[in-house]
Amino acid sequence: MFLHERGHVKSKSLSVLAVASAAALFLAGCASTEGETTTPAATETTTTTTTEAAGSLLDSVIAAGSVRCGTRDALPGFAVLNDAGEHVGFDSDFCRVIAAAVLGDATAVEMIDLETADRFTALQSGAIDVLVRNTTWTATRDGSEGANFLQPTFYDGQGMMVTSDSGYNTIAAMDGAIICVAKGTTTEGNAALESSRLGLDWEIRSFDETDLILEAFLAGQCDGWSSDVSQLTGLRSAYPNGSEALTILPEVFSKEPLAPAVLDGDTAWAQAVNWAILATIQAEEFGITSANVDSIRDTTEDVGILRFLGAEVPGSDGAAVLDPNLSLPTDFAYQVVKQVGNYGEIFARHLTPLGLDRGLNSLWNAGGILYAPPYR
């Protein structure tokens, strides 16, 4: 018995020791980083130099010969797996746009499916090179997640979907309703804000996956399903008889610019991705499509288009190709348009069939807000 008691005491003190050391480790981690944050200027310069010294992601992507693109597998219109196991959708095509621009091969993409809640961790840890997963650009994500958001690919807004027989025809009528949303997204906060703004006392339940929301929604556990309108439209299209059975209410109550993101502190890679996206917009503005890009390059005399496509521009001292030093091949825009298409083509391929209008996502000269800086 005496021995047993001793053994007991020993094991207890051991466990206390374990907790203490775990806590100490944790605190040590905090303390050391606090020390760093007190001298922000110094840290920043050193990190920049280390990143430069270590090389940009751009170099490692080129060396690896493929882009690791963080995406998803079950959002109709944006990214779904087809029967052949390939990713199809608007977001998937923008992954290919990046690959076409950087590597000259739209198929050189490794699609990595991510859970909503894991996407920033995947970006931070370097498991993916770029995140193209209908992610809203917000200040907090820009600041605290170490993400660097680039040219939005889709300007969206949050809305509400209800069953057509529920009798709701406006959000304001949904007093005391149960609203289902996806976990770890901006929709949770927007829905809470809208509820308190309109004094509606919503109960907001958040789920891991859209499949689970669908189950709860169809079983009548939720009155409304709130998400970005584009997503709701996509999900509705996949639902049997969806356009009659489900109604998307007219109100849109948030700004959701969906943008690709790369890791902070890597300007070269960020610029490469950004200009790949911008090229699709500029191509649409020029009227260049995947079908006519070859003939336009061969016949046009428009200097702007020749520069853009990386063709030789006749000048006073001989012909020259414009190289803006983006560390991209000079013909990257040609490859993007030739292999994937311009913005309008990508939109028409994946989102128009769902019943989505161009709306805000029209070119600036067609009533939208898509505007690419000049390529010169």
């Binding site: 809640a117 605290s144 005391g176 906060g189 809470a192 902070d264």
Partner: protein
């Protein structure tokens, strides 16, 4: 025989088994530390590349989300959301441990019953439930039972008109008034009932009659609670269907119900086996002695067998309680807002992952260690003192 063979030559240190054992252990330890150091270094490097926070400042940011069945405002800090998640975890833990113990004990006894029907049902229950993965059981409970088998709110089930059962939750009658006041009242009633029971035991020890301590204690408790109820003028509030929700009473979240039900069903199958084994481990002579002094079957179980069985079962039960508490984190998969769900949501909304999950980790560790302390305390009280 040459003398060389009879005197063993000295073993060189690198072939000495004692040295080798030591060296191996030191090497293993070094390898573990090297791995941890490497991981920590990678973390530091990744953090330095981007502007990710590594401290607990995020706790002061606004939470930006709400919790079903709670008044938490979205402008309150993340800290408050964590506290609510912690409380929700404790709710599941308390109710789960209590129900699993009761159900498990009953089934454990049933498995030893002389009645064929009862015994077989007990065996089927244990063998069926114990061999299922808990996550699957939970998903089934949520998707198949709560979502599909419970009625929609439009045709909610109203047993006795006291409850409202639908796939939006179970509303039960609840009292009107201050919960803290009633809590203090019930606690003091329990205390007085305990004193009455002790007095009964002391008297019975002197007179040699049966103490009936439990009976007296429970009656005292009930009388006192009814008195307090009437004195302070508490009233019942019955829930009723109000449009697409319920009003009045207390509404239990559907995911809370699914989580507690799954945890209780799963854990009770393990507890039943522990109870059965412990009852069998009580020496046969104890039961025979009880028979010899003509105790009834229930007296034998209550006074002789179970007290000794629980002494044997206590450490194993403690493990099951720890399992139940830790398994409550699976609630995150069915949208129950316990600690893990809160951590996942806040990380998805901009809180840094490593500090947020480290904090969650430490909270679970603390809950588990406190539970161990409590179980060990009772274990020491129950343990036989041998000399």
């Amino acid at each position: 025989m040459s003398p060389q063979l009879s005197t063993p030559s000295k073993v060189p240190f690198y072939r000495d088994i004692r040295t080798l054992k030591w060296a191996l252990q030191v090497l293993a330890l070094l390898a573990v530390f090297a791995l941890l150091y490497w991981l920590y270094g990678n973390y530091q490097e990744n953090v330095a590349k981007s502007s990710i926070q590594t401290d607990l400042r995020f706790l002061d940011n606004p939470a930006n989300f709400t919790i079903p069945g709670n008044d938490l405002d979205q402008s309150q800090p993340v800290r408050d959301a964590f506290v609510e998640g912690f409380l929700n975890t404790l709710r599941v833990a308390f109710i789960g441990v209590a129900l699993a113990t009761i159900l498990g004990t009953l089934i454990g006894i049933a498995r030893l019953s002389k009645n064929f029907m009862v015994r077989t049902l007990g065996t089927v229950y244990v063998e069926l439930v114990r061999n299922l993965p808990l996550l699957l059981l939970l998903t089934f409970m949520n998707l198949a039972v709560v979502l599909q088998a419970f009625p929609r709110i439009e045709n909610a089930w109203l047993p006795l008109d006291l409850f409202v059962v639908s796939n939006r939750g179970i509303a039960i009658p609840w009292f009107i008034g201050s919960p803290a006041q009633l809590g203090i009242g019930i606690l003091s009633a329990a205390l007085i009932a305990f004193v009455v029971a002790r007095v009964r035991i002391r008297q019975a020890d002197k007179s040699g009659k049966q103490d009936r301590a439990w009976l007296f204690g429970i009656i005292t408790f009930l009388v006192l609670v009814v008195l307090i109820w009437l004195l302070f003028g508490y009233g019942w509030e019955l829930p009723y269907v109000d449009g697409r929700g319920t009003t009045g009473g207390l509404r239990l979240d559907p995911s809370f119900f699914a989580l507690v039900a799954s945890l209780v069903i799963y854990t009770s199958s393990h507890i039943a086996e522990i109870v059965r084994g412990s009852i069998l481990a009580v020496s046969r002579g104890q039961g025979e002695a009880a028979d010899a002094i003509a105790l009834t079957g229930s007296q034998k179980m209550r006074l002789i067998i179970l007290p000794q069985a629980f002494r044997i079962a206590m450490p194993a039960l403690g493990n099951q309680y720890l399992n139940l508490i830790k398994n409550s984190s699976l609630g995150a998969t069915i949208s129950y807002f316990e600690l893990t769900q809160i951590a996942q949501i806040t990380v998805g909304n901009g809180s840094p992952a490593v500090p947020a999950f480290s904090l969650t980790l430490l909270v679970y560790l603390a809950i588990s260690l406190v539970t161990s302390l409590i179980v060990n305390f009772f274990n020491r009280r129950l343990a036989l003192v041998e000399r």
